[in-house]
Symmetry: D2
Subunit: 143 residues, 4 copies
């Protein structure tokens, strides 16, 4: 997959970091390249749902936002990346001290792109796949 924007790294980094909500929940960019992005969240009590597991919404936000970063590496300069829809399966209750996410672009199109995000929970150093998402994104020319 070939970036169309020579500054794709800065562009995708800004997509990840300029989101207030992603910052508010503690999302950290680890690395990115053409068609992929890696992030994590260090888990705090505020990320939990009512039964002591990491909330589905935290996992979904991480999966969606990281897919946006991955797709952002492949859009032309000046383009936004908006989520059109996503689907996420929660494979097991998520517990641990960190959530890690890797998103990869399956198809980069002019009007639609599709990315997949895998979410791993890290507990005592061991990783388990806890969620997998498919995200459809629309590249949109910014104003």
């Amino acid at each position: 997959m070939e970036p169309q924007n020579p500054n794709y790294r800065e562009h995708a980094t800004a997509i990840i970091r300029k989101s207030r909500f992603a910052m508010d929940i503690g999302l950290v960019l680890d690395d990115l390249g053409p068609g992929w992005c890696e992030t994590h969240i260090d888990i705090l009590p505020k990320h939990m749902q009512q039964d002591g597991y990491i909330h589905a919404g935290v996992q979904a936000t991480l999966a969606d936002h990281t897919a946006g970063g991955a797709t952002g590496t492949l859009v032309p300069e000046g383009y936004l990346v908006l989520s059109a829809e996503f689907k996420i399966n929660f494979l097991r209750p998520a517990v641990g001290e960190r959530l890690r996410c890797r998103a990869t672009v399956l198809k980069a199109g002019k009007t639609l792109s599709v990315a997949e995000s895998e979410v791993y929970a890290v507990r005592d150093g061991a990783e388990k796949l806890v969620a997998k998402a498919t995200v459809t994104l629309a590249p949109v020319r910014g104003r």
Copy 2:
């Protein structure tokens, strides 16, 4: 739809309110009854993504959590409600001062329930449907 738990109201209310993450993002329970639940979030700058829209993750968390509340009205006493998967479509960029959500249960089953959540953005008093989700939930006996 018939509640199996005479204390269904308290049970579902606890599902909504005892979630740290839902509280952290400002989710408020408005009302609930057998097979439905209504909630809202008053939008703050922290809920935004990088382009000035309400983050997909905020909408997804609201849709997922409200579906949990709706499903929680129909499970037996002592049962948790865990999200197995969900899918959400973002119909238009979300802007406004409030997100409102109504979830209704489509099917309440022993091992799987399915609920739908509609998310509306309220702007200057007018409402627009901005997202719609389908959520599959698994009732699980608590320990």
Copy 3:
């Protein structure tokens, strides 16, 4: 919802009827109007899966194709309607002599439309909702 094509009825009817696969599985157009479409399939032994239920693929094809018909009523003349993705929940095992489907457009956009399809199984004259789908479609200018 306002049709942009004065011949929307003929256009959407052709979308439904010119599909070889839809015809092969016995899909029948019942009626359509701006933003909606109704169809059915009379169930034959060939529609079954291995346990005596109507195959998920039959339900999915009906849901997808009827959503295409509903969306086809709202696109400009000369536009195709291609499915970008869909998600379908099977609410209960489907049995009966007929499957009936109603699709309605949730959002009609220039590059993306979203429709919902409800699939009912008719058995001894009584109807049950057996599946519900959300379909994202892309209007594309035909050659």
Copy 4:
């Protein structure tokens, strides 16, 4: 992934082959093993939609049914595998002389399993990924 049924190969093969609808559309089992299954369909005019592409319903049926075969290798003897829901993204218009599918189980659980299916179109000997699905299946004890 460890089969619980010593006759898992026969059991999963029967899931694939005893489906009337899968046979009707020409689905052929190529191979299977613990947690995976491969199939194909040789494309005929009857598989087309209205614009000359392979119908989304054909791709969806192939993805769903092959996921059932993959999951069937991991269930106990006497268990059915019913699709609870699936989501499929169509990455590009599907054309060619054959559709090939590989499904792999992401998570095998007692009440829910999750599998992924990749659908490739083969045209003039070259393969392209045309669709990807995530399928949630419920193992159910047969009568």
